[in-house]
């Protein structure tokens, strides 16, 4: 037995090295994409966009993902692997800020670090962020909801469906953006739930999926059966929210707003399930990220931020079929042209 193990192990290692060598020789630049998970369609589409652009630009892209929202462990491993294999650039949607030290090390090793969708709180952790302005996304739907309700807005009963209680940056920005847009005072824009306005019934953790959406709306209705506005963190949660409202017979009188702009979500806007949604552009984030890495590898140019912001704004559009004055929007047909997923 012993005499067979050593030669076969050597053989296996040799084959792996040969294979890796063969692969590495075919492309000049290596890059890594590290997403939050492989289950949320947003990140799946981002990955597809990055892979397509990398193929066209001649970059060898390796993709990694965490398992769940907020799970940074697998991402830390991925960053270390990328540094070890000599990648020129890392595109990352960070699960949380615990990846900051590893990213700083990567930058120190000469790797271009680009944060996608979720900016890191430490500005030295990334060379640039390509993201939606999530606060603006929330602002748009908040303003739309307030204008649509008109005089009833001052007595609105609002339910908030967040991801969870961990104060993830995307979660906090959209949530507080919505509240500010609706005209509710938010003392602390860095955490969830700092507002004291009695119009807000409560915050529930919908985990960003339909099952959580159903449970959250049920709990909120139990607290206040007269809820008439529901803010949802993303469109899967909004789907669940609508189902729970329908079961309670309340779907006609309640406004649902969301953020995402995926094709299923735009279809929901068209069918009236979602009143308005802020559309974001993950494919653009991914392709711009790959372009930036290609430019960095070629002549060391770094990407620059949008005017007046400290990140590159990939844009957001309010999609609704019931536009209101003062809040620019596009309709669901245009939204379908631009949608992802």
């Amino acid at each position: 037995m012993k005499s067979r193990i050593i030669p076969s192990t050597i053989g296996a290692i040799a084959l792996t090295v040969l294979a890796a060598g063969a692969h590495a020789g075919s492309h000049s630049t290596a890059a890594c994409l590290i997403t939050k998970n492989n289950t949320n369609p947003f990140f799946v589409k981002m990955k597809e966009g990055a892979e397509a652009k990398a193929e066209a630009a001649g970059i060898a892209l390796s993709s990694y993902a965490g398992k769940l929202d907020g799970d940074a462990g697998p991402q830390l491993v991925a960053i270390e692997n990328c540094v070890a294999m000599g990648a020129k650039g890392i595109l990352i949607t960070a699960a949380n800020d615990s990846v900051v030290p590893a990213l700083k090390k990567a930058r120190a090793a000469g790797i271009l670090v680009i944060a996608l969708d979720t900016p890191l709180s430490d500005p030295d952790a990334q060379d640039m962020t390509f993201a939606t302005d999530n606060f603006e996304a929330g602002l748009l739907i908040g303003r739309w909801a307030k204008a649509t309700m008109g005089a009833a807005a001052k007595d609105a009963k609002i339910g908030m469906l967040d991801i969870n209680k961990d104060n993830i940056s995307v979660d906090v920005q959209r949530d507080t953006g919505f509240l500010v847009g609706f005209g509710i005072e938010v003392p602390n824009l860095k955490i969830l739930g700092s507002e004291t306005d009695s119009r807000v019934i409560g915050h529930e953790s919908a985990l960003g999926n339909p099952e959580g959406g159903v449970k959250s709306v049920e709990n909120l209705l139990a607290k206040n059966p007269d809820m008439n506005v529901v803010y949802t963190i993303n469109e899967p949660a909004a789907e669940g929210a609508y189902q729970a409202l329908k079961k309670a017979g309340k779907e006609k009188g309640v406004l649902i707003v969301s953020v995402d702009g995926g094709c299923p979500g735009i279809a929901s806007v068209k069918s009236g399930v979602i009143g308005a949604t802020s559309q974001q552009y993950p494919l653009l984030m991914a392709s711009k990220g790959i372009e930036a890495i290609a430019a960095w590898a070629k002549d060391g140019t770094k990407p620059s931020a949008s005017d007046g912001l400290n990140f590159f704004n990939t844009g957001v559009n309010l999609v609704t079929d019931s536009p209101v004055a003062g809040v620019p929007s596009i309709d669901s047909t245009k939204g379908t042209e631009l949608c992802w997923g």
């Binding site: 369609p41 339909p210 449970k215 789907e239 079961k247 069918s271 997923g341």
Partner: protein
């Protein structure tokens, strides 16, 4: 000499003339409670449920209304059904961490076949449940024949089935409007069977209670059921008494997979759509329900009604604390403490004597 003999005989008159006698130490109040709970394992969770409903009814406004109480049942319906599967496995001193993945993959098989490929609904549902049974049988095979520990097996199959789920679904949900248009019967378990006094009892809730009753009967009154208890209690004794432990173990995991497949159908009705990112926390939630319901993690002792009650207790605590305005990490804190108390109680009951 004669005086000693008389004393000796006199002493003998006062002693017991039984051949042998044991000094019984379970005369105290605590011991009689322990005996009662050992004989009727469902007593504790039933009491805890009633007491917690009353306490939260006092603490939280609107909790005691029929609407809210039936809401608790709705929210734990899927967890309760999967907890029945988990109970069967834990009774054999095993554990199944892959139940959630089996559930979602089965619901996707049903959904994609019926909604996207146009397969007739009964066939699609049967296929989904068959896939669930197969996955369960695979777990059972690895545990019984390859003799791997259930924790490790199901930890591995959790990843395998999750990857299959993501591949098969393409990471895309099947939307409610598509299901309603092509296969509305998939949503049946979410509909209300009765609406007494503002409460809403769904067909899913009815299915949970019926299924619990069926499996309670099977476990208590069929040979298969007694074999399941025996394997968990003492596998060696089970083998020696002629029980085909391998076959029974595989059948337990396969039946659990079948129940999870059925739960997948109920879940479609509960959520209204089929999403690859739903039910990710159900694995631990079912183990929590089973433990709080009084089933021992060491096998051999437990009850199906207990697990359903355990699921309801978690639901009551979660909704009650939420309505009482308590931050939701205290809900996690409370449920965690319930688990610790339940396991400690189980350990106390396991001791034969003090």
């Amino acid at each position: 000499m004669s005086e000693t003999e008389t004393d000796f005989e006199q002493n003998l008159k006062n002693t017991s003339d039984a051949v042998a006698a044991f000094q019984l130490d379970d005369q105290s109040f605590l011991s009689s409670i322990r005996n009662a709970v050992r004989n009727y394992p469902t007593l504790v969770p039933a009491l805890v449920l009633v007491v917690s409903i009353l306490v939260f009814g006092f603490l939280a406004p609107r909790f005691l209304s029929p609407g809210v109480l039936s809401l608790v049942l709705q929210q734990v319906t899927v967890i309760g059904i999967v907890a029945i599967a988990q109970t069967l496995i834990i009774l054999t001193a095993g554990i199944d961490l892959s139940v959630g993945a089996i559930l979602v993959l089965s619901s996707f098989v049903m959904g994609r076949l019926a909604v996207m490929t146009g397969v007739p609904l009964p066939l699609a549902i049967a296929a989904g449940m068959a896939i669930g049974t197969l996955m369960g049988a695979f777990n059972g095979f690895l545990v019984a024949k390859v003799k791997l520990p259930p924790f490790i097996v199901t930890l591995g199959t959790l990843s395998v089935f999750t990857a299959l789920k993501l591949w098969y679904s393409g990471s895309e949900s099947i939307r409610n409007s598509d299901i309603e248009a092509t296969a509305p019967a998939l949503l049946w378990f979410g509909e209300a069977a009765a609406r007494p006094y503002g409460a809403s009892i769904t067909y899913g809730g009815v299915a949970l209670i019926l299924l619990a009753g069926i499996f309670w009967y099977i476990l208590q009154h069929t040979a298969w059921g007694r074999h399941v208890h025996a394997i968990g209690d003492d596998p060696e004794a089970a083998i020696l008494s002629g029980i085909k432990t391998d076959r029974t173990l595989i059948s337990v995991y396969a039946v659990a997979g079948l129940i999870c497949g059925f739960a997948g159908w109920v879940a479609i009705g509960r959520v209204g759509s089929i999403s690859p990112i739903a039910f990710e926390e159900i694995n631990l939630a079912t183990i929590t329900a089973v433990v709080i319901g009084g089933t021992s993690l060491f096998g051999g002792r437990g009850s199906i009604p207990g697990s359903v009650l355990g699921a309801l207790i978690v639901g009551v605590f979660t909704t009650g604390l939420s309505l009482a305005g308590v931050d939701d990490y205290w809900q996690m804190f409370a449920v965690g403490n319930l688990v610790l108390i339940a396991v400690a109680l189980d350990q106390w009951l396991r001791r034969a004597s003090q």
